[in-house]
């Protein structure tokens, strides 16, 4: 065990918040150190927001910009909603990472680079004509060159590790440097490494050594003029954990199943970025969860429909082209009126698109992507933690109204973590399967007068044997029917059933949205950037509000009136205006659209500038 210099740097500068990017090759272990530094920041009491951004290829060609993996983290002494636009500090493990991200680093920002990986050939591979360390283009930053590779090899020389293995620890050395810089206790990370490597003592030892060396190096050679301190944030007291959107969806599903006392059946086919939902749920077998990795997307949805028919709480998750393949079975679930939930983690499309990049381009597919008159409720969580709430809400709606429900998350929500105050069992509203089984054959297809839901009668219930199917059925008796009037009635009934959900969700508050110059309307993962930009404008005296929709079908009551109270409505989405077209279709109002379809989330500044322009135009 190495002695860590505990001598506290006396001259720590206090900052309100810091945004840092860890970047390197996708094989450099960037996500690991980013994620862990985020956790350390939370444990220290900061609020955090992060954005992991990585290539779809497991190992794109090393050293090229295509293979750059980045983990952006903001830790703050104030409550925050996004990782911010500009970087205060950046770790670049190679020239490609530098090239890819340097434009985000603020002037005078700290730039830590691995000087061992800036040889001529490395620079050429990254697309630099000249070595950027020699051109003076980095002079406006506080450049800190560290021979990370050599230092790691030196630090681990006594362990006799193969060179390749030893080099894998250089991410830990860089993490050690950053820990010194931002005053992170190293003991907590040691414990984590011990737990992570378990019985592989040598690896654990090597990683700890590298971590210490980085910390000591920064300390002893006074790498930086000063270290920094970001004080604790003023968050509500309580128990917290980190949660990503995908974890939150998984937890929400399990809680829904415990609350309504139905086993959870989850079928899914692995697809980026939704696979972590499958990974999470596969670990919860002792909670009565059944997970089924199906042969394809269609089969997953088919199994969900079957499990729902047999009485389980049935769930699938998907992304990208997977949603297309779910649509056929969603139609059957609509026709058979069976509860089911689809978590669709949107990604850049069409087709294979950019699997690891985020987008909100599936809204219209979720609303209208099936043949026939085939509506389903659509929900959209707005933060990683909100994914938990909306997962439960999706199941509540599904079993209350006997309908499949689509939840639209996205790549950004899926992978970014935030601190989450852990609710207790009592904090979480439960729901029950209210529609009791019908008692006689005649009443089998009767509907609840309020919700219009039919009864969820399960195979195994004596005397209630019946047949379901994709064919249109008679309104009263449930037998196959080709009667024109009956079909019309059934179409309208199914539509009305979905519409009635709007009585059962929070309306738009007229007090909160009483009217102003501009209303920014949006949904999903864009919440943080939009809210931050709008708050900033409000604090500057502008008359602007932000309305973030979590129910996209049916829309909440009071929305139309709300929209009309504003002089301008700006619909901001990571698509070409899909929610916008829905709103215009409902209320034929004038709107403006802020589009972005680049695979990246909104930046606060681009929203701020756009709104400001709109506000200024408005006042003329």
């Amino acid at each position: 065990m190495i002695e860590v210099s505990k001598a506290e740097a006396t001259n720590r500068e206090v900052l309100e918040e810091v945004t840092i990017l860890f970047s390197g090759d996708s094989g450099d272990g960037i996500q690991l150190i980013g994620d862990r530094f985020a956790y350390s920041s939370s444990v220290k009491g900061n609020d955090i927001s992060c954005f992991p951004d990585f290539p779809a290829e497991i190992r794109a060609p090393a050293g090229t910009t295509a293979g750059v993996s980045g983990f952006k983290l903001c830790f703050s002494s104030e409550p925050i909603l996004t990782p911010g636009d500009h970087l205060d500090a950046m770790v670049a493990m190679n020239p490609a990472a530098l090239k890819q991200n340097i434009s985000e680093l603020s002037d005078n920002g700290i730039l830590i680079i691995n000087s061992d990986s800036f040889k001529e050939k490395d620079c050429v591979k990254a697309g630099y004509q000249e070595n950027p360390l020699k051109t003076g283009e980095l002079d406006r930053f506080r450049l800190v060159e560290i021979p990370l590779t050599q230092l790691t090899l030196d630090a681990l020389s006594s362990l006799n590790l193969p060179r390749k293995k030893a080099l894998l620890c250089k991410n830990m050395l860089s993490l050690g440097v950053v820990c010194w810089l931002y005053e992170r206790p190293i003991e907590e990370l040691e414990n984590w490494l011990d737990a992570k490597f378990g019985k592989q003592h040598l690896l654990s030892e090597a990683n700890k050594k590298a971590l210490h060396s980085g910390y000591n190096y920064a300390d002893t050679i006074e790498l930086f003029d000063a270290g920094f301190r970001v004080p604790k944030a003023n968050l509500p007291k309580g128990r917290y954990r980190h949660i990503t959107g995908n974890e939150a969806l998984a937890l929400g599903a399990v809680v829904a199943s415990i609350k309504c006392k139905r086993e959870l059946f989850f079928a899914s086919y692995p697809i980026t970025p939704s696979s972590d939902v499958l990974h999470s749920l596969a670990r919860y077998k002792n909670f009565g969860v059944k997970t089924f990795q199906s042969e394809d997307e269609i089969s997953a949805m088919g199994a969900v429909v079957g499990a729902s028919f047999a009485g389980n709480l049935a769930l699938t998750s998907t992304s990208g082209p997977g949603l297309d393949l779910k649509q056929e079975m969603l139609g059957l679930a609509v026709m058979a009126e069976l509860p089911a939930v689809v978590f669709n983690i949107q990604r850049a499309g069409p087709s294979t698109g950019m699997p690891t990049k985020t987008e909100q381009t599936d809204l219209l597919a979720a609303l209208y992507g099936r043949h026939g008159e085939c509506e389903v409720p659509v929900l959209a969580p707005s933060t990683p933690a909100d994914c938990f709430t909306m997962a439960i809400e999706a199941f509540r709606i599904a079993v209350t109204y006997m309908t499949p429900v689509i939840v639209l998350s996205d790549g950004y929500l899926a992978n970014s973590a935030e601190p989450w105050q852990i609710p207790t069992d009592e904090d979480i509203d439960g729901f029950s399967v209210a529609n009791l089984p019908a008692q006689s054959d005649g009443a089998l297809f009767q509907r609840c007068p309020n919700t219009l839901a039919r009864s969820w009668v399960l195979p195994g219930q004596k005397g209630l044997e019946h047949r379901l199917g994709g064919l249109e059925r008679d309104y009263d008796k449930g037998a196959i029917s080709y009667d024109p009037d009956n079909h019309f009635k059934m179409v309208l009934t199914r539509k009305e059933k979905i519409k009635r959900i709007s009585q059962d969700i929070s309306p738009i508050s007229a007090d909160e949205y009483s009217g102003a110059d501009v209303l920014v309307v949006a949904w999903g993962s864009t919440h943080g950037a939009l809210h931050t930009a709008v708050q900033q404008l409000k604090s500057e005296g502008y008359a602007i509000d932000h309305l973030h929709l979590r129910n996209l079908n049916p829309l909440p009551e009071g929305l139309g009136d709300c929209l009309r109270r504003y002089r301008k409505v700006l619909v901001a989405e990571l698509n070409l205006g899909q929610l916008n077209s829905v709103l215009k279709n409902h209320w034929s109002i004038e709107t403006e659209v802020l589009q972005k379809v680049s695979g990246m989330p909104f930046k606060i500044d681009e929203v701020y500038q756009h709104c400001k322009q709109l506000l200024t135009d408005n006042s003329q």
Binding site: Y284, S299, M301, A303, V305, G306, G460, A479
Partner: protein, 343 residues
């Protein structure tokens, strides 16, 4: 209701108890009538409460069958019945789940799903009703139609050759594989019963005559004067002998099967003796290729193996997780992993 009472009720059921109130709408004379009757006859004998039967189908003439049974039923989507049946069985392993499918449904659009249901060995009974034609869409060639088949969609003859359902199922690793014929009511019922009682995925190909679009497809195997020479009955532990007047046996000659006449009581040493319990793929391949090689069509149970079912594995994993981690609750779920206190 106690189990004793349930069994009591079960034993009282008869064929008529399984007829639904729906009017049967197949063409008069369709082979599906006989298959429906066979199923209705067998169900009361299975010692299963009526409410525990679930019949799942895809799309096609035969997939209408669940509507004509008074059990729980689900008429799903083209080719997708195995997926829905999988979900039903995994959600409630107590149920007796049946898939009714046709040659187009199971082997064209749904072949992938069928393959995976079989290899997983989910305890579901699959009845593939093969008429070698698309009936519901009015007569296009199917994936089991013979090469060169002239139909509305192949006026110059179909270009591709057929897939053999039994070979498909054997190669997919099904633990119960059989072939039956609509016109052989007794044989059909016997096989249906064995399929139902088998623990694991059971696959039964049933030859069915669609006299409207593909009449006589199985004529040789069903006509009184030809069937004994055109088919060989598979009986576990018995030699492969057949023939109406002259008794014939099938022998192994090198790697090929051959027919020889046997005039005496004793069979040649190289006569093939059928076994349903061997895991010998070479034998399976040989047996399922007979009809393509001018040898008689095997009818009966090709294979029956005892292997753990998927749902058993699923339940065991659940139980072992509960044993090692304890029954989960919301508190344990939400605090799982690491958390901290913000003071």
């Amino acid at each position: 209701m106690s189990i004793v009472e349930k069994i009591d009720v079960v034993t009282k059921l008869s064929k008529a108890d399984f007829a639904s109130d729906q009017e049967v709408r197949w063409c008069p004379g369709c082979g599906d009538y006989a298959i429906l009757a066979g199923i209705q006859k067998v169900l009361p004998e299975l010692n299963t409460p009526k409410e525990n039967f679930v019949f799942v189908s895809g799309i096609g003439c035969s997939s209408r069958l669940p509507y004509y049974l008074s059990t729980y039923g689900f008429h799903t989507l083209h080719g997708r019945a195995p997926t829905v049946a999988t979900g039903i069985k995994l959600a409630n392993p107590e149920l007796s789940v049946w898939v009714i499918t046709g040659d187009g449904d199971a082997l064209s659009i749904g072949a992938n799903h069928l393959l995976h249901l079989l290899r997983r060995n989910i305890n579901v009974n699959i009845l593939l009703i093969n008429n070698r034609i698309y009936g519901l869409t009015k007569g296009q060639y199917s994936p089991t139609s013979e090469q060169g088949k002239v139909t509305k969609s192949s006026p110059l003859g179909s270009i591709s050759g057929p897939v053999d359902p039994v070979s498909f199922a054997l190669n997919a690793g099904a633990t119960f594989v059989a072939r039956a014929i609509d016109k052989d009511a007794k044989g059909l019922q016997k096989i249906l019963k064995q399929a139902a009682e088998h623990q694991g995925a059971s696959f039964v190909e049933i030859y069915q005559n669609c006299h409207v679009f593909n009449d006589g497809a199985f004529e040789a195997a069903t006509a009184r004067d030809t069937k004994d020479d055109a088919t060989v009955q598979l009986v576990d532990g018995e030699p492969l002998v057949f023939g109406s007047k002259d008794k014939k046996a099938i022998v192994l000659d090198g790697l090929e099967a051959k027919v020889v006449s046997v005039n005496t009581e004793s069979l040649p040493d190289n006569a093939l003796v059928h076994t349903t319990g061997s895991d010998n793929e070479a034998y399976d391949a040989l047996l399922s290729s007979f009809q393509h090689k001018g040898l008689p069509l095997p009818v009966g149970v090709f294979r029956q193996l005892r292997k753990p079912t998927y749902e058993q594995g699923m339940i065991e994993q659940q139980q072992s997780s509960i044993a090692s981690q304890g029954q989960g609750n919301i508190e344990a779920l939400l605090t799982g992993g690491s958390y901290w206190f913000h003071e």
